[in-house]
Symmetry: C2
């Protein structure tokens, strides 16, 4: 199976799992439509794809990480809904269509996000037979920590507070770490728990997450709204400090290349069958959206 086919297989797999997970609420939750609107039928599914690709590289059966991948994607989806709110990044467009609050109103968007966060942890806490309760609790501890006061949310808070202010490179790196890399780390850590691998593999997630966010900043400065599927140049609009703004575009691109090389190196050293993962990381490094 070539790489594009594998990618589509992973994307379809997580799409089906997300749809199944949400379908329980079709007639029981007033937030069903808003949740489906924001979670289904869109997105690159980078985080679940990362998890399945690592599972493949480490001989972990895919169904052992389905719940963890689903939890990560639900959590990611909720943060996007809240990030787009008028009081936050105020973005009207997400994944090529109106943001959740534009489509359903602010109150319903806030509540759909709230419910999706709880659902993410509910999925992880649900009975399963692929690993023991100790590993399951470790996964819950890890992901709740990442979603808590010094994880993703801290990054978003620092990002908002920094608007229009100069930042040092290490302050930008901290925001990237909290806002993006922490969840990429969680992808790898949860896969490691499910597959009984060493948790220090999460360094791979950290490196990839930092690269991904740096690349997002660079792409946002140069691509059009049509390609990105979200409002372009909103970093500039919000006057956010970026690597490129601080050290120049060329140096930022060089740093990005170094991060991707490091990720490939970790994959080569730590995983038994790293080839498809490396191919995927290389494809990620050349993405235009």
């Amino acid at each position: 199976m070539n790489n594009t086919k594998t990618l589509i297989t992973y994307q379809e797999r997580i799409e089906n799992i997300l749809a199944d997970t949400l379908s329980v609420y079709a007639s029981t939750s007033p937030l069903y439509d808003a949740m489906c609107y924001s979670i289904l039928g869109g997105g690159k599914r980078i985080r679940p794809v990362l998890m399945y690709t690592i599972a493949n590289a480490a001989n972990i059966p895919y169904h052992h990480i389905d719940k963890a991948a689903c939890a990560i994607e639900l959590l990611h989806g909720y943060t996007l809904i809240h990030d787009d709110l008028p009081a936050m990044d105020d973005d009207d467009l997400r994944r090529g269509k109106p943001s959740c609050h534009i489509q359903f109103g602010e109150a319903e968007a806030i509540l759909a996000g709230d419910a999706l966060q709880a659902l993410a942890f509910q999925v992880l806490a649900a009975p399963q037979q692929h690993y023991g309760p100790i590993a399951q609790l470790a996964m819950l501890q890890y992901l709740t920590e990442v979603a808590g006061p010094r994880g993703i949310i801290a990054g978003q808070a620092r990002d908002l507070a920094a608007e229009g202010k100069p930042l040092t490179l290490s302050q930008i790196d901290q925001i990237h770490q909290e806002k993006t890399a922490s969840l990429f780390e969680a992808c790898v850590a949860l896969t490691a728990y499910a597959g009984n691998l060493s948790p220090d593999l999460s360094q791979l997630g950290r490196t990839l997450g930092r690269a991904f966010q740096l690349q997002d900043d660079l792409l946002e400065q140069q691509e059009s709204t049509t390609i990105l599927g979200k409002s372009c140049q909103s970093d500039q609009r919000l006057q956010k400090a970026t690597h490129a703004g601080l050290i120049g575009k060329a140096a930022a691109e060089q740093h990005l290349e170094m991060l991707y090389s490091q990720a490939i190196e970790i994959a080569e050293q730590r995983l038994p069958q790293p080839a498809p993962l490396i191919t995927w990381i290389r494809a990620l490094a050349t993405r235009r959206y």
Copy 2:
């Protein structure tokens, strides 16, 4: 120890646990001040007090339910922050002081709420020695379900959608069940899991929660802002349908009395030392705020 002293002991106990839990984030989270502002130094702590009072009635050591009581109160605190937002109930006052979004701005209030929800589950998932991992996972399943798409959040969504619209008595009851009673049920269920009691004791929580919400509606129609510590008559302002509006004040008060009597009956039948719990329920039934 008399009842007032016991109540104060429970309130001080949960206050200390909440302060300890948040103190970890003093220098690591940009949301520390907003979280402390909303969580500490206020509130009647009805839910933790219910849990400790049941623990007392069932001979469960208090420290066995500290984490569960903390998780419930963090979760409750987060829902209050989000409920007060301009897009939701738009309340400027909470516990006698400006609401979180008035004090810290909307973005920080949304994020503080988000972080507190994750922290609630993190507290429940953290290592502890008082009950096994299976009970711990059962508690996480229970509370994430209550916080999810058909629990508290569903109740708030239905409540907002119903503004200005006529509701049937059973529709109002559904909102009360989802919005308030589900968390009271969780208080009892989590105490039961920690103390190895039958989970069907949660019926006590359901009955008390319905009584509590009905009483809230009745109090809001008659008390002043000073006594309640939150904007009074906001139900009327938002044109929310209530029991009193539908069946008259006298009939609503009679229904309230019946619910409290049922709760006392369950306590008498199911718990070995129910006397202090019954005294507390009677005090709750006569509260003016």
